[in-house]
Amino acid sequence: MHSGGCSVRALAPVLLPRWLCVPGARPARLRGSMRFLSTDSASVALPARARVVICGGGIVGTSVAYHLVKLGWTEVVLLEQGRLGAGTTRFCAGIVSVAKPLSVESKMADYSNALYERLEEETGVKTGFVRTGSLCLAQNQDRFLSLKRLASRLKVLGVSCNIIKPKDVARLHPLVNIHDLVGALHLPGDSVVSAPDVNHALAVASAAHGVQIYEHTSVNHVVVKKGHVKAVETDRGSIECEYFVNCAGQWAYELGQSSEVKVSVPLHGCEHFYLLTKPLSEPLQNDSPVLIDMDGRIYARAWHGGILSGGFEKNPKPIFTEGRNQLEIQNMQEDWDHFEPMLSALLRRMPGLESCEIQQLVNCPESFTPDMRCLMGETPGIYGYFVLAGMNSSGLSFAGGAGKYLAEWITYGYPSTSVWHLDIKRFGNLQSSRTFLRHRVMEVMPLLYELKVPRWDFQTGRQLRTSPLYDRLDTQGARWMEKHGFERAKYFVPAGKDLLALDQSKTFYKPDWFDIVGAEVKCCKEAVCVIDMSSFTKFELTSAGDQALDLLQRLCANDLDVPVGHIVHTGMLNQRGGYENDCSVVRISKNSFFIISPTDQQVHCWSWIKKHMPSDPQLHLEDVSWKYTALNLIGPRAMDVLSELSYVSMTPEHFPSLFCKEMSVGYANGIRVMSMTHTGEPGFMLYIPIEYALHVYNEVMSVGQKYGIRNAGYYALRSLRIEKFFAFWGQDLDSFTTPLECGREFRVKFDKDTDFLGRDALLRQRVEGVTRRFVMLILEDHDTELDVWPWWGEPIYRNGELVGVTTSSAYSYTLQRHVCLGFLSSTNTDGSPAAVTADFINRGDYEVDIAGQKFPAKAKLYPFSSLFTQQKRRKDDMELSNFQSK
């Protein structure tokens, strides 16, 4: 380790006190405003108050500080327990790549890249920025396909990238063995930097704009009063503040737990190794492209004439489960035996390195989150407590963009783009168990470089929340997926039928469950199916007086002042008119409402309602998700099954659509039966107190037998809802989508008495016209058997021009076509957004780009009315009666 120490220093010249000693080394324009407060002497007192306190002096924390002051904030204090950049930042491999699984992540990386490039000029601090470009290699066709998909997604963002042949790889990087490659993605814009230097530069720039930086200052806990951040207690005194930002990296979980009101920051550390070599006999050029060989699980970049190469192994080593102090991270041990597979992969990729001499093996812990996406935003329950952490080994790539978004969030209440997939509110306390995190990150870390195909599910940390019917369904062949910790059936494998093993079932093409789901869909259309939808988030809002109604009228765009027993589909909009939530609200009684929201809204919706709820002891919000099992009886015969079980006529005449009645089903009384489904098929939702769940299910199944009842799963549901053009929040809808953009103006009651949230924005939009429009695209000329299936995130072209991106897709068994949902937008000749009219949509030739291959598509603004079986049946009946009368 001894010689290693030197080399790390070469990689990581973070020596903050130097800034104090030689301020002259900084450009003159910064000198006057420098306020670096290295507190080795501990004599410098902390300020008594500040507006924002940031905890964590790594690249993320400094980026947040940098962007806050850029947005005009003053009184920003940054606290670091050790030295700036002494955590993960210090050992960062220094690669900035836009090749990320989510578009918003690529966007952040792209921004970071641009920021780091100009940082040197802005601050005068050398950042080691070299635009090397990067090469993502594919050893097999599936990987190549995933790279092509990435390429078409990056093109939407305007990032330049090329799909290239192996021989072009050899041209760009002569050391690479290309014999086992099928192709590669070249990203010329990617770069390498020295992460500690970027950290340094961001600190210098922040300090120049007034950020006060204190090293060797640990945050003990955050003081919260009435749900708001009030102050930060440190080991050197307390600072009063309005906002607190937890950028503590590896220690963010710990810091969250130490708060008075515990904040769950679900992340966990894993050891991460990379190798440094001495210069090659013919030193490797500084600007040699970065190599990312995901099939070999390694990356490699040029480093001081040699190679820096690390990877994400199959068997990661989780650490710090018990929580550790700062000292540990400085003292991580190398583990060559653990590194062996990656070394072998490296030598296979670059056989010429065999004679190259080892400099050091660096062990640099990284923090990972349960879904491989970072944690960003305001925590539920504590206003003013923000988090930015859990970078999943992409801290450097994300820091710039993420810092910008978080600063916007603090400033404007939300970032300039939808970051739902990164929002910390997608998690709750239930993802905070140390055991869960430890197990899950062991799956997440290898996943970084695994082939990510549509419809993959995490295998670890499962069976946390289950419906009471779980075992019943499991024995009937259910295959499970997980949403927000809840097990949901994907489909039911009939007895005697076998599916492929998990590993082999990975495909971008037609999946092995195709016929199974097809049969379930058919049953939903023609007979009746049961889908267990217990995972839905269910709230009850009650009050003594009108408070509940008043609150909902303010939050919801639709009119909630309906007779008792009515169900209202409505959005909860923000000031921009965008969907914060899309839910169904049932008026149970005059002053009590039952709110049904998507599963992953449990934390987000709760905090949204709480945020706007007056503190009135007579107004009460309760999460009753766990109290009810939800069964969806779907299909034309659903009414027959139910009426047989309840001795009540369930025909539309007696039980019109969007109604809710408490009634008996079998022996069980007090079941909330609602005449609605989430797919547009006829049917009923049954909200059953959990102790009755098994009874009701058994009754339904036994009575339903003669109507051909069977279980169905979420894949059938998904196919049904997409072919009917039903948008789902979180997938199609986000906080930047308004009801007008997705054809739901009919659910907005502008003329109701209450001025609901987002009304002004919608009124404005109604006058100006929408600039993007939710459409349904039916793929033509797409061979289900042979062509790559659409997923989501595919670019949409209109008359050869990029106009949008898909948000979800499914195979419609009824249309026997693939249906993609997505948004179209239009621009004027000057590039400004133009109104998207029905005319614009109807008069265009559309193509959807799936992994580089363009498939013609028909765009539709409205669903096929013929798909609604009820109407179809009525039509059939008519034809039949005509026939009989003849």
Partner: protein, 519 residues
């Protein structure tokens, strides 16, 4: 055929049996003296062997029948035993962490024995391996008796007084030894009374000789115990016993033989008393993490020059050519020191007298009746041990006691390497560190892949002795365990096994470097 050549290689590489009995069988055989003339068993065995060789060559069953890995494991682990010295307050205060032992039979029944015990009246632990020949009776007697003789020899005068006083007054005895036995390690009940009275006679003599306040010297005690026990074995056979069964037993003990290697560990003091050709080797960890072997015993056989000199010097010059023939004592016995074996110790007259008065069963025993050739100036054999004293150092990590079945198959350096890596676990054993050395990526890859291969074979065995046996029996020419070979060696029929390997008995004592380093 690979299998056959492998087998023949094994045969040629081995010498069978420690005793050469009636040359008659060899004379009957028309074959020139080859490796198989050394067979211990009577001629019927020889014939069976030839028959089996033929069967082996022709029968396809032999080629197709392989033991599965779990079957192999159950054979290897049948006799394994582990003992961890109990901890106090989470700390092990003993210089010994514990031991692993195991044995793999080749003879049926096995002629090797092992013992391990903690001395309760004094400090220290005792470990012993005993390699019997011409039957297992003598080795069995050693495993039951020798440690008591040693423990008694180590007792100070006062404790001996208490012992004698307790027996005298019919009070219960303070236990002297705490045994650490595998369930298969039996003690015979029938002889216990006889053994006890001999032991009591011994401590009564010790009482007369010792002085109060004097601490017995360990080395002297070991020598005294060895010699005394051998003497008692000899005497009991001469005196006989009214009980015919016991009488036959004591004769069998005396006429069979056994070598012994016993370790006594008390704190940092390690004493090894060795009689014969078992061996004790110390595993020493070098500063670079590798292990080297330090042999603590001398084999008492023809390969040992000073032993040769000793044996020759004890007999007249006229016998110089006949005392050691074909590297064997009187052309018969491989070890030059052993317990029992009264045929090499008693005068011819004594042997005849004892045999004639003995029970009838004895007369059917050809081995007993047979008088070694050129038998002029007995005794030719002694049980007196050679004692080695070693002061344990922090780098001394473990001690391997093994019967010659182990040392014939594996070089001591290899033994120490295998055990060392098993005990430390390759992964936690010195992690690879580049340090200041020049290492290329290619070299590192080679090293890592080798370590990986080693790890996978280590994980099968919890018990280091089992692991060592797995290597001893299954190693291929690259020093890796070859399952096919292992399976073949373990599936040999009883009567064949002895041709390919000897009984193997191993005790591996692991030292506690914290205690040893701290003292």
């Amino acid at each position: 055929m690979a299998a056959t050549s492998q087998v023949s290689r094994v045969i040629r590489g081995r010498r069978f049996g420690q005793i050469l009995v009636p040359a008659m069988t060899c004379q009957n055989s028309s074959r020139p003296p080859g490796p198989c003339i050394n067979a211990t068993q009577p001629h019927s065995f020889e014939q069976r062997w030839q028959h089996q060789v033929r069967g082996y060559r022709t029968s396809p069953v032999w080629h197709t029948h392989y033991l599965t890995p779990p079957q192999v494991n159950s054979i290897l682990k049948a006799n394994e035993y582990s003992f961890k010295v109990p901890e106090f307050d989470g700390k092990n205060l003993s210089s010994v962490m514990g031991f692993d032992s195991n044995q793999l039979p080749a003879n049926a029944p096995i002629e090797d024995r092992r013992s391990a015990a903690t001395c309760l009246q004094t400090r220290g632990m005792l470990y012993g391996v005993f390699d019997g020949h011409a039957g297992c009776a003598c080795a069995q007697a050693l495993t039951e008796r020798l440690f008591y003789y040693i423990a008694i020899s180590l007792l100070p005068h006062e404790t001996l007084m208490e012992l004698e006083d307790a027996v005298e007054n019919g009070r219960p005895l303070q236990p002297i030894l705490q045994w650490h036995k595998h369930p298969n390690d039996y003690f015979s009940k029938e002889a216990s009374q006889l053994y006890f009275s001999s032991l009591r006679t011994y401590w009564q003599e010790l009482l007369d000789l010792s002085v109060p306040g004097e601490q017995p010297d360990v080395a002297e005690a070991l020598v005294s115990a060895f010699k005394r026990l051998d003497n008692d074995i000899s005497l009991e056979a001469q005196v006989g016993d009214p009980n015919a069964f016991l009488h036959y037993l004591v004769l069998r003990v005396a006429f069979s033989g056994a070598t012994a290697c016993v370790a006594h560990i008390d704190g940092n003091e390690l004493h090894i008393a060795n009689t014969g050709d078992c061996r004790a080797v110390l595993g020493v960890q070098e500063p670079d993490g590798s292990f080297s072997a330090l042999t603590l015993t001398n084999d008492h056989n023809a390969q040992n020059e000073s032993e040769m000199k000793r044996v020759l010097s004890e007999h007249p010059l006229s016998e110089a050519k006949s005392v050691v023939k074909q590297d064997r004592l009187l052309g018969l016995l491989m070890p030059f020191r052993a317990f029992g074996d009264v045929k090499f110790k008693w005068s011819i007259e004594l042997q005849h007298r004892v045999l004639e008065s003995g029970p009838d069963q004895l007369h059917e025993n050809e081995h007993a009746k047979f008088i070694p050739p050129n038998y002029h100036t007995p005794p030719y054999l002694t049980a007196e041990p050679e004692v080695t004293r070693h002061h344990l150092r922090p780098q001394d990590r473990f001690l391997v006691l093994g019967s010659d079945g182990l040392w014939e198959t594996l070089h001591r350096q290899e033994v120490v390497r295998i055990v060392g890596e098993h005990l430390t676990g390759v992964h936690q054993q010195q992690p690879v560190s580049v340090g200041g050395y020049k290492v290329t990526l290619g070299q590192m890859q080679g090293l890592l892949q080798e370590r990986k291969a080693r790890i996978s074979s280590t994980f099968e065995d919890q018990n280091a002795a089992t692991h060592l046996i797995r290597h001893a029996v299954g190693n291929n020419e690259f020093g890796m365990v070859d399952h096919e070979r292992l399976s073949k060696m373990l599936s040999l029929p009883e009567e064949l096994a002895r041709m390919y390997r000897d009984d193997i008995t191993i005790i591996i004592v692991q030292f506690n470097p914290h205690v040893i380093g701290g003292q």
